[in-house]
């Protein structure tokens, strides 16, 4: 036996203290009587108020000493080392996907899941411990394994739903690392079944339990809100539930209701609406679906109509129609095209050199496509066959919505290792194909000729171009739409001193150079960014809204497929079995018996 709180042995002082109290005697007032023969000798143990008397052993003293001894031992938290009743570890994973914000379970699926986790924490027995993992875009360890229910409750208070599907595979990996070396543990997933499915069933090192939340799949939302060059507004509404719904779309221009569009949506169907009554000079447009339903975050969509500030781009190329058309897709660009060696000197927000490298140092942010070998910030070698195209990091924001599945590159410049400060975005079996430089001045290098690849023929090319422009241009976030919880790189003007971001709820955040990514984007709506420049301030906007239709399909899903790890063979691990609850229980029983004995003696 060992003691977890040996300092509590000080409580054993209560034993001699109790005996000391029995040495004190009662100062009794004298009463003269005619006889003593009718009075049976009887002395009860009551409050003493005078010293001293001979110690009279009695049942009450024995019971009190035993109770005090057991309570003191209980305070010391004795533990037995044994195989039976091992301390088990429970890992509770809470899905923080956007669909968990549905209110078909009151107050919401996410809060119900948190309450369920609290309940599990409350049912922990002595010696057991629990860890909490929040499944968001990345799995987050809210609480390491602990038996302290108060710290678990405090950790659960910090849990918030995220903006993207929870990463179940990452959560399992984290849970397995927690349960490593702790056989007998268990993993409990509280989810509505909409976490990101892993590529293959993960192996879980413990007993897995799926605790579903959610009751209904009825939900409708706005999937798309965009504006065509002609000025009309395009909307796609979706009904993810089974029943037909009569809906209205309220159109707000700069906060004022300007139109209401009634529509009817059958179950599991979509409807496209074109709206051409956009008032002139509208800066912000909001479409709001009524009546509301269980998932509110997809009932509104926003569109920033205001023209973003123009950005000047210098394109130096012999001839590249793919590139020029991709640049033309982006509004707010003032593209100056020049032949190699004929470019005019001047200041541009972005320099694009295609198959050419200017002499000297680059003047600012630059995109280099198929640079000549032997020079520039990334010295490349001779042309060779790079092999299969692979993403450097599938989670790289530059590859968002970019599919490299059917992309091939015939030849690319040789480059064994990226230079210091550069990282690979797209690679090949042998060499990198696209590298970026995150520090100022920003830069990107594509090591192959677009004409020697089928990339320009894929849908991925204009998207990749837009992502690169947003990354390289100052103010690349303007008028863009981001997912809830997604970090937004606020590329500011080079001479900006302060960025002030106003959230949809009116809250403000101030950022100073070097302007870290803005991560407080859990609220959906329009975010306003004010840049303080030497010549004044400049306003721009970006939108945060749910863009994943899978998250809007809120019908509770099935448990994710897993592989159950085999149970450990051989002896069960040994652990500390705390016995203080038993000691305290026996002590309370002794005190109750002592009270009964005392009352019977009255």
């Amino acid at each position: 036996m060992n003691f977890l709180v040996p300092v509590a042995a000080l409580a054993l002082v209560s034993l001699p203290a109790i005996v000391l109290l029995y040495f004190l005697k009662v100062r009794r007032p004298e009463v003269r009587v005619a006889t003593l023969m009718f009075w049976r000798p009887h002395v009860a143990d009551r409050q003493a108020n005078a010293p001293w008397q001979r110690l009279r052993p009695g049942l009450l003293l024995l019971l009190q000493l035993l109770a005090a001894l057991l309570l003191a031992l209980g305070l010391m938290r004795p533990g037995l080392i044994g195989a039976a009743g091992i301390a088990s570890t429970t890992v509770v994973m809470i899905d923080a996907s956007p669909s968990m914000e549905a209110t078909d379970v009151k107050p919401s699926r996410f809060l119900a899941a948190v309450d369920r986790a609290r309940s599990i924490a409350g049912q922990m027995k002595p010696g057991q411990e629990m860890a909490v993992i929040l499944l968001g875009e990345h799995a987050q360890l809210l609480s390491p394994p602990t038996g302290d229910s108060q710290s678990l409750h405090a950790a659960l208070d910090r849990a918030r739903p995220g903006g993207t599907a929870g990463d179940f595979a990452e959560g399992v990996s984290l849970a397995n690392s927690i349960l490593a070396g702790k056989p007998g543990g268990s993993v409990q997933l509280i989810s509505d079944g909409h976490s990101k499915p892993p590529s293959s069933p993960p192996r879980i090192a413990g007993e897995f339990t799926y605790l579903p939340v959610g009751a209904s799949g009825e939900n409708a939302g706005i999937e798309t809100l965009s504006r065509s060059p002609s000025g009309s507004v395009f909307m796609r509404l979706a009904n993810y539930g089974r029943g037909a719904r009569e809906l209205k779309v309220e159109m707000f221009a700069d906060g004022h209701l300007v139109d209401v569009l009634p529509t009817r949506l059958e179950g599991n169907s979509t409807a496209d609406l074109n709206w051409a009554r956009l008032p002139a000079k509208t800066q912000l447009l909001e479409a709001r679906l009524t009546p509301g339903d269980a998932l509110a975050i997809d009932d509104s969509a926003w569109l920033v109509i205001a023209e973003p500030p123009k950005h000047s781009v210098l394109l130096v190329t012999s001839e590249n129609g793919f590139l020029q058309r991709a640049l033309a897709l982006r509004t707010g660009l003032d593209v100056t095209t020049a032949k190699p060696g004929q470019e005019k000197a001047g200041r541009y927000d972005l320099y694009i050199y295609d198959g050419y490298l200017p002499p000297g140092k680059l003047a600012g942010p630059a995109l280099l496509i198929n640079p000549p070998s032997g020079g520039g910030p990334v010295p490349v070698g001779n042309q060779l066959d790079p092999g299969g195209v692979l993403p450097g990091n599938v989670r790289d924001p530059l590859l968002r919505d970019v599919s490299l599945k059917d992309v091939h590159v015939q030849s690319a410049s040789a480059l064994k290792e990226p230079p210091p400060g550069w990282r690979t975005v797209i690679g090949a079996a042998a060499d990198p194909l696209l590298l970026v430089h995150d520090d100022e001045p920003k830069g990107a290098v594509m090591t192959f000729d677009l004409h020697h690849s089928d990339l320009p023929l894929r849908a991925a090319f204009p998207i990749l171009t837009q992502n690169l422009l947003s990354y390289l241009l100052p103010g690349g976030f303007e008028n863009q739409v981001f997912n809830p919880g997604q970090a937004v790189a606020l590329a500011a003007e080079p001479d900006a001193r302060v960025l002030e971001v106003t959230r949809p709820d009116g809250g403000k955040s101030r950022l100073t150079p070097p302007f870290p990514p803005f991560r407080d984007t859990l609220l959906t709506g329009v975010y306003t960014v004010r840049q303080e420049l030497p010549g004044g301030s400049r306003l721009s906007h970006f939108v945060v809204q749910l863009q994943d239709p899978l998250m809007a399909r809120i019908a509770p899903g099935a448990a994710p497929a897993i592989q159950q790890a085999p149970k450990p063979a051989g002896l069960l691990p040994r652990g500390t079995i705390e016995i203080w609850p038993w000691l305290v229980g026996i002590a309370l029983a002794l005190l109750a018996a002592e009270w009964v004995v005392y009352l019977r003696g009255r």
Binding site: P29, V31, L36, R46
Partner: protein
């Protein structure tokens, strides 16, 4: 010591002797001996030497036999009043000692009124020589007033009393002596041709002690002490023990052909006498 109203009440009562009393002088109590008196008792045949003046000639005319006419003799009786003067009699609220002395005075008055020879004394203490007639009331009362409580006394002291005469002996006590039994003492009275009456006088706070908690009880006579925690349960045991003690006293009195009765110091004299009436120690005159 007693008020006029109480004396009037006592005047209508009389002591109840259980058997005929034989005294030195003529009195008002029926004697076991025959004598001339207004009350006819019986006939018996004439024998030589009888007083022929007592021959009933009417009976001789009817039966032609000489018959003597007998009459009941009425002689004085002796009332012994023994008052417990031990220290415990000084306790109680109202005091037992006052009630006991008033009881002794009342009984003495009743005896003197009936021309009985009355002796009063303390248990284990001094006594008053016999007095007779109403003239003796003042003497008895002065004697009673001169008595004081103190010391120890018990049933064994009854055996030591030599001044008692055959007759009715009323022992007035709280009967709370720790040591000794009342049986032998009462039996000794019986052996001396006395008719014992044990009259227990207690105070209300001895029948229902108004005490509780941690106390040190001190016996006022012996000085012995006992530390107790008085609880309702202990008080119940006290009441049961007192009832058993009274039952024991009654058995001892019956064993000595006597009577046992008890009264309360808070009661007035009329209520006390009613207790005597119920027990048969007093009758209406």
């Amino acid at each position: 010591m007693l008020t006029t109203a109480e004396l009037n009440l006592l005047g209508r009562l009389d002591l109840a002797y259980g058997r005929p009393q034989s005294g030195l002088y003529a009195g008002e109590r029926r004697s076991p001996r025959a004598a001339r008196s207004p009350e006819f008792s019986d006939f018996r045949p004439y024998v030589s030497g009888d007083d022929f003046r007592q021959i009933d000639w009417s009976a001789f005319a009817r039966f032609e036999k000489l018959m003597l006419r007998l009459y009941v003799a009425e002689e004085e009786a002796c009332l012994n009043v023994v008052l417990d003067c031990s220290g415990s009699m000084g306790l109680g609220e109202p005091p037992k000692w006052t009630a006991a002395r008033r009881l002794a005075a009342g009984l003495s008055f009743m005896g003197l009124s009936a021309m009985d020879r009355v002796q009063v004394g303390g248990l284990g203490g001094r006594h008053l020589p016999p007095v007779r007639g109403r003239d003796g009331v003042s003497r008895v009362w002065r004697f009673l007033e001169s008595l004081e409580v103190g010391g120890e006394a018990g049933p064994q002291d009854l055996i030591q009393l030599r001044w008692l005469r055959p007759g009715l002996t009323v022992v007035i006590s709280d009967c709370l002596a720790d040591q000794g039994s009342w049986g032998p003492g009462l039996a000794s009275l019986r052996a001396r041709r006395q008719e014992p009456v044990l009259w227990q006088v207690l105070a209300p706070d001895e029948e229902e002690p108004p005490i509780s908690g941690d106390l040190k009880l001190v016996d006022v006579e012996s000085g012995r002490a006992r530390e107790l925690t008085i609880t309702p349960r202990l008080l119940g045991e006290y009441r049961r023990a007192l009832a058993e003690h009274r039952e024991t006293l009654a058995r001892a009195a019956r064993g000595a052909a006597g009577r046992f009765l008890h009264s309360n110091s808070a009661e007035d004299l009329e209520t006390t006498m009613l207790a005597g009436l119920r027990a048969g120690a007093i009758r209406r005159g």
